[in-house]
């Protein structure tokens, strides 16, 4: 590994970490903005002096930043949709963005979870992180992660049973 903070180090870090962050962002908010979010988070995190230390867990910083950035985007998109919906046809319920090309019922169900539950499920089962690591990314305790995932799994099971029963 190059000296921390050098141009070569930054490039190596980019190639090593941004790919998984793009995948994470894509799972959370879709493919369209995933690369932008991952790139922006990389720039923001590395612009902070403390992020470039030999022992700094850069992937953990990045993961946390990506989860938060995705949450912000999703939240603001929801506000925008709600605003547009209220102008056109009065208040309406807000649904997460759906992918019309998606034929995987499990994936559709995951994407319909609330943001934090979705993030917890993806970090735990796709990234294969421990509950402690997931908690670090979401800034909650491992116990809270466990509870969050349990609720998510219960919701998923119900959703899938309903879908398959209909």
């Amino acid at each position: 590994m190059e000296a921390a903070g050098s141009d070569a180090w930054i490039e190596e870090a980019y190639q090593r970490y941004v790919g998984p962050m793009v995948a994470l962002a894509a799972a959370l908010i879709g493919d369209a903005a995933a690369e932008d979010v991952a790139h922006d988070c990389f720039v923001r995190v590395l612009a902070r002096e403390g992020a470039i230390r030999r022992d700094a867990p850069l992937d953990a910083y990045l993961r946390r930043a990506v989860v938060n950035a995705c949450r912000s985007r999703w939240r603001r998109a929801r506000i925008e949709r709600r605003s547009l919906a209220s102008r056109v046809a009065g208040p309406s319920e807000i649904s997460p963005p759906a992918d019309p090309t998606d034929d995987d019922s499990v994936w559709r169900a995951i994407r319909s979870l609330p943001h934090r539950q979705r993030a917890a499920v993806i970090l735990r089962y796709a990234e294969d992180l421990s509950e402690e690591q997931v908690g670090d990314a979401l800034r909650i305790s491992p116990r809270a992660v466990n509870a969050l995932i349990s609720r998510a799994m219960a919701t998923l099971r119900t959703t899938l049973e309903q879908e398959e029963g209909s």
Partner: protein
């Protein structure tokens, strides 16, 4: 439950395929520029800032109250930075909690700044950057003066923030955001006001009241005020002139929303123009 978990794992395994991403040209320069910008912004106003966050009629009575100080009153400064969490004005928090509770990581402390930046056409713009306690979760607003009206734009520095457009007959907009940290939530209110505003008064329906100083970015006619308010707060935000007259008012509302009277356009910064660091880096590299 295991069957559901197995299906979730299988579905995610199928989709989880991280690929190496080549670094766009200009990325290193963007990082170094941004880092230099943050260094400049360490003019800590912090504890020396005059903050008047008085609560009237609050049953909790946990407001931070600091007397005005003429030397640090809302004078014009190239950069106002407010990165000391203990100095943030707080309308209401649990008395047992401090404003910086849980901010053990100094790199993810609250941070706010307003600075003048020049637009391409020479129009002075004020850039307000807000970073909450998650560190990288930013809201950024660019507000400028155009033809005696205000406008805000997306720019290369603003990739995940809000945009707002202020009607020309208004003197203020206000914005709220909700922070979540663990089980705790805080609502943050920003008021973006004309520089002629002396102070901003926030009153909630449940009786909280705060008077906030206005910080003005040098070279612009734009200032801002901000305060934490109790989550779920609703009420009013008023811009008050030096003679005590009300210049404008807006509604404080909840949940997470951009707020003001009618005609304020707002949204997220998902424009196709250079709206992200990535695009800016690519453009920069191309040049």
């Amino acid at each position: 439950m295991n069957a559901t978990e197995d299906r979730v794992r299988a579905s995610l395994d199928e989709r989880w395929n991280p690929r190496p991403v080549p670094m766009p040209p200009g990325t290193v320069r963007a990082i170094r520029t941004r880092r230099a910008s943050r260094r400049v912004a360490t003019v800590v106003v912090g504890a020396s800032v005059a903050v008047t966050a008085a609560i009237a009629g609050s049953s909790l009575g946990s407001a931070t109250h600091r007397p005005s100080d003429a030397s640090i009153a809302p004078t014009r400064s190239p950069v106002w930075t407010y990165d000391d969490p203990s100095a943030w004005p707080v309308m209401d928090l649990d008395p047992s909690a401090s404003p910086d509770e849980g901010l053990s990581d100094p790199d993810s402390a609250h941070f706010i700044e307003a600075r003048a930046i020049g637009a391409a056409d020479g129009t002075p713009f004020a850039l307000m950057t807000y970073v909450n306690n998650h560190g990288a979760d930013c809201g950024e607003l660019e507000v400028g003066a155009i033809d005696n009206g205000w406008n805000s734009v997306d720019g290369p520095l603003c990739s995940s923030g809000w945009w707002v457009q202020i009607p020309r007959d208004r003197a203020m907009i206000s914005v709220t955001d909700l922070e979540t940290k663990g089980d705790r939530q805080r609502q943050v209110m920003f008021a973006i006001v004309s520089a002629s505003t002396d102070h901003v008064v926030v009153e909630t329906l449940d009786g909280h009241r705060a008077e906030l100083p206005v910080f003005v970015a040098e070279g612009t006619d734009v200032g801002f005020a901000f305060v934490f308010v109790p989550p779920g707060s609703e009420g009013t935000v008023r811009a008050i002139g030096s003679g005590g007259e009300e210049l404008d008012s807006a509604t404080l509302c909840f949940p997470v929303s951009l707020i003001d009277a009618q005609d304020v356009s707002s949204g997220c910064t998902g424009t196709p123009q250079a709206s992200s660091e990535r695009e800016a880096a690519q453009l920069s590299g191309a040049r």
